[in-house]
Symmetry: D2
Subunit: 375 residues, 4 copies
């Protein structure tokens, strides 16, 4: 892979903010051509009507998913930015229509060979929650339905490059993490893997801009309801909690539960997680910082602060960067880890493109090197 100059890419579901940011970034990606863009309720209209800020970009007219003839279309990668519970059916249908080897039983048995078998086949990067939870019961419990494509769920790779880079390179189907889990896992996984912190006492106080809620017409997303105020929501019941717990349990080598308390603050972009942890016996804040620094030394997008400056979400706005920082707590034996990302970029569309780059064999940071926009 990475052999082509230009890869043909499609976007399923481009009328939300995630879809828009995919278009914004892919249009400036030097190795990508967007060949279709869907938005069922807005099919037949130019994307410029739905997102006027994209009107100077060259993008095909919006079409309906049903109008895609999968058999005939040449496409190297498909981003799926559809609503939760919709992706699984659409992706399954698409793979059937293209006789994708991912549906072949044998693949399950020989996972090592997947990459070779499916070269040349379409790569699927799903931005919904449909393939994130490996346990189907957990999925059913949190999403209120039985999974429609359990056989695909089994083959999906959790798309956090900093954890699963090699698996992603060989994957045909990647489930991009939620925005909150992205920041939380980058901050916490190395600490749990090295047993530097207590697994049973992790508190993630998360703050997000409103775009995390999407472009849907809900009263609580209106300007007048969001500006000049803030609030928590989904306390102890947000769907990103089991996702965080799934990956942290792997890292800790034991099942764990976390406190995950998200808040909405009056800004568009940005995610800021203040994470309170208890140090394992004998560990120090310096140990935590050193471990994170070492782990992420060569990462293109993860930056572990050494200066002691408190990070701000605006330091990463519009970029694919993640800043980590570790601080002493006043309570002995405790520490504070801060992680901040742009929820629409590293927390969603940027990370999806990072995954695409890996899957297509392109340099990982291609098309993702825009500097943050501040002010």
């Amino acid at each position: 892979m990475g052999e082509k100059d230009i890869y043909r890419v499609g976007i399923l579901g481009a009328s939300g903010y995630t879809g828009a940011d995919l278009v914004r970034l892919l249009c400036r990606h030097p190795n990508v051509e967007i060949v279709f863009v869907t938005a069922d309720r807005k099919a037949g209209r130019p994307l410029a009507e739905v997102f006027p800020h994209l009107s100077r970009l060259k993008v095909p007219e919006l079409i309906s998913i049903d109008d895609i003839e999968w058999a005939g279309i040449e496409v190297d990668a498909v981003f799926c930015a559809l609503p939760h519970a919709t992706s699984q059916k659409v992706i399954k249908g698409m793979l059937h229509a293209t006789h994708h080897s991912l549906l072949d039983e044998i693949i399950v048995e020989q996972p090592e060979d997947i990459a070779d078998d499916i070269r040349g086949e379409v790569k699927v990067i799903d931005l919904s929650a449909d393939f994130r939870l490996r346990d189907l019961d957990t999925y059913a419990e949190w999403y209120g339905k039985t999974h429609d494509a359990p056989e695909l769920q089994a083959k999906a790779v959790y798309g956090l490059p900093e954890l699963y880079r090699e698996k992603i390179r060989g994957a045909s189907l990647v489930a991009c993490p939620g925005c909150y889990p992205t920041a939380a896992l980058i901050a916490l996984v190395p600490l749990l893997e090295r047993r530097l912190i207590a697994p049973e006492d992790i508190i993630i106080d998360a703050k997000s801009g409103i775009t995390g809620a999407g472009r849907s017409l809900k009263e609580q997303n209106l300007f007048a309801e969001v500006s000049e105020g803030m609030h928590a929501y989904g306390i102890a019941s947000h769907r990103h909690a089991p996702e965080i717990e799934q990956e942290l349990s792997v890292a800790a080598g034991q099942s764990l539960k976390v406190n995950f308390t998200p808040h909405i603050v009056p800004m568009n972009r940005g995610e800021y997680e203040t994470i309170y942890v208890r140090l394992a016996d004998g560990q120090t804040v310096d140990d935590l910082r050193a471990t994170l620094s070492e782990r992420y030394r060569d990462e293109p997008f993860v930056h572990v602060d050494q200066s002691g400056q408190v990070p701000a979400s605006r330091f990463v706005r519009g970029s694919n960067d993640c800043i980590l920082s570790v601080f002493e707590d006043r309570i002995p034996g405790r520490a504070i880890v801060i992680a901040t990302i742009d929820n629409l970029v590293k927390g969603s569309s940027g990370q999806a493109i990072q995954n695409m780059n890996l899957m297509l064999g392109l340099p990982e940071a291609t098309g993702l090197e825009q500097a943050p926009l501040f002010p």
Copy 2:
């Protein structure tokens, strides 16, 4: 007290947001007449130039503190909204000039009689941090200087009406709490007093609007630095930490340290504290809620949510209200307490007026019954 129809009130330091909110509220207080307003650097100018939104109110022209002849002025109460470390000198001078009995040694020995002795003397409500910390070494450590009026510090009452109502009624000098401690203490003191939570594991993740930083000209307060982003600050080093710890230690009956991590979010007013606690053995979330409900049943401004609705800072914007709410944590044995106030009202000027009402014998809620302004 409460015998007069109109009390004569002065404000020292009216060019900040706290001063402005004092004027806003006092001008509509039915039992108050503002007789002087100071702002040293802006002396000689009408307040309307400094705060045009107040230009339709009847307020005396701004004067310099040095121009006040304390001996001759008739004033029932003085609000002191001066910078930290300035109040102590100014208040001391004022009390000397008026031969205030608060400076009389005997008072220290017979605290019970203070109220009687000093009826008719000026009441001082200090909004700075100068008289909040009872331990002079702690003061020196956190404020970087020796206290200039330790004899007054010893007589100051910590002005949180929900904790110290009776003492405030009899006080001549009240030290209004900081905005963050106000919310934190209202939430936590009853829980510690009843031993419902573990004292060594309290995490206060606090979020504030930018007015908490005052009107001072600092780069970090500029619109472009604050909007569309958020950040923590003063991690493990904010001066409100020792203040919170002072009062919580009293409640817990033991010395304790808390995690207190404040954040700035892009809004003007509002303070939102998400507090993570560990339940004492055998205690439940319901116990916490019941205790808070009972404790604050008759309070005019503290409201313990029973509905399960997550509070938002905009529910109290512009009002003297405080909303408390308790939630289950996903981690067994833990709970979440949320407290929200308007940092300029209950967190500052409104609470100061509440204290004044108590000190003057007026009904406690007088002049503080405006409904929140939303949107």
Copy 3:
């Protein structure tokens, strides 16, 4: 009138921002008791669920309009904050049910006597656009439908107290002006009446906070669509244009058309109109200012700036005030008039209460003297 201590008041349509601000203000009005509050789709729920910031106020549970038995209810005044085109039917039905003399033919012929005849009958203050346009053809043209209650339209008084105070005192049905017309008319009517400006060349560049668009679920009202940007809308086609032209034509003594170009800026409250006028021959900016000053000298809420300070919308936020200011233009023979109000207060709910006060014989400013909330 004004004889009662407490007047019984109802609100039709309280689930929008206008309704909420009516409740906020009326609950603190010393002569008012709210006896019913309707919200059809939310009937049966407490208002606190719809507007939690009002949960500490005593307000009856929301009911459906259909559940009101007009014949039996005792109510002195009804505010109608229903969607445009809905008010006319509801008000007509209510007046029928109460055998209101406003429906009696004779009233039309003896308008002078209306006030006497209807004392004791319900006063209707309509906040919709239904009764603002006196010409039924103009109404049909701009609102796309024939008026359902033309006989009531003929008797409605345009509720701008600064222009029609005496008529309002005697009215049974008042049509409160739109928010944009309120500011524009206060600024321009005296200038046209005195022939100080050219009637054919009036340009009103208006900027509004988003609450002017109500609480309806439209994509363009989402936080992410409004924040960090601004735009014009309804250019040459906004429904407030004919309303402005109606009243300005009366003032000018000739039919005129204006440029009225509204913009949405990212704030909740506030309306700011920068009005560009051509001076009539021989007139000066000083003449304009002097005329406005004289005209509004005794008005409780209109303030003509004499200081030369440029007004800001935040100088009136949350209050019923209107600030006017006049400036020289660089183009000879031209002038600039600025008018700013809070669109939800003087532009809507506050003005409605001002009208109610007049209709009930109460002091005009009762319940409307809150100072602006800044910051």
Copy 4:
């Protein structure tokens, strides 16, 4: 020119928002290497301390201007983002130090040959107002001082590529337009050149985000003073007025004055000008639109709307784009032209880079093709 792969570029004055946006864009410019960055008061510190969002970019440490040895430094282009009235001295000194031919008398006499003579010499792109006003008396009147480098003023080219592209290509010193003039001139110059509108009746109602005021510590730039409100400023006295008039007078072939009324709205970036014009006899709105469309057909960054959709400033946020749109007025014989840009990009740093590209012989849009960031 355009012969080199990489041009060496310096930035004088990088601690303001304009400087930061220069760095943001230049670091991603494929043909540029930043060789020095100055900030006198912050010399010796890394740029990352001043602008943490730029900390992942490779930029030299901040130095003082005085530390630059002009004689020895190899630099192809210098951006000057210094405060007004400072640039003229600094640039003069730099040109002296490098024996720049721009200071040679003969150049004035043979302007055609400038381009050839000075190939290889440093190109100066000034973002201040110092060289914008060609008339020295006008400069002195509006900036309160005599110009320090009148000989350079005479040779500076006004850096609006859409008007002066060819002159810019050959220039050694370009004076980048102010942000407000950029949008106004792009909208109006073609209309005046073709005599489509009346020159004596142009009203420019301009709205800007707060970054137009820079990063300076002024009370009016604080978050709490800007958010949740708006206001006009500099009415009939803003320094961009004479700049607009200078260029419009050239276009109209006659001296003219405009109404230019700027406003601050609560956003970071964005400039939105609603321009009210009177049509020349016989002209129509369609004529205006057709003229603008034709004039800007091949421009990379100017887009004339044909759809009738009202533009919003967020359609261009973060990009070098300018959108123009023309609308009918309700007043016969009048029209409305809307122009919107990002004040920090097309209104400042982006346009400066566009000028640099022209001066260095690079493709004009190089490094400026980022898509707008929305939301």
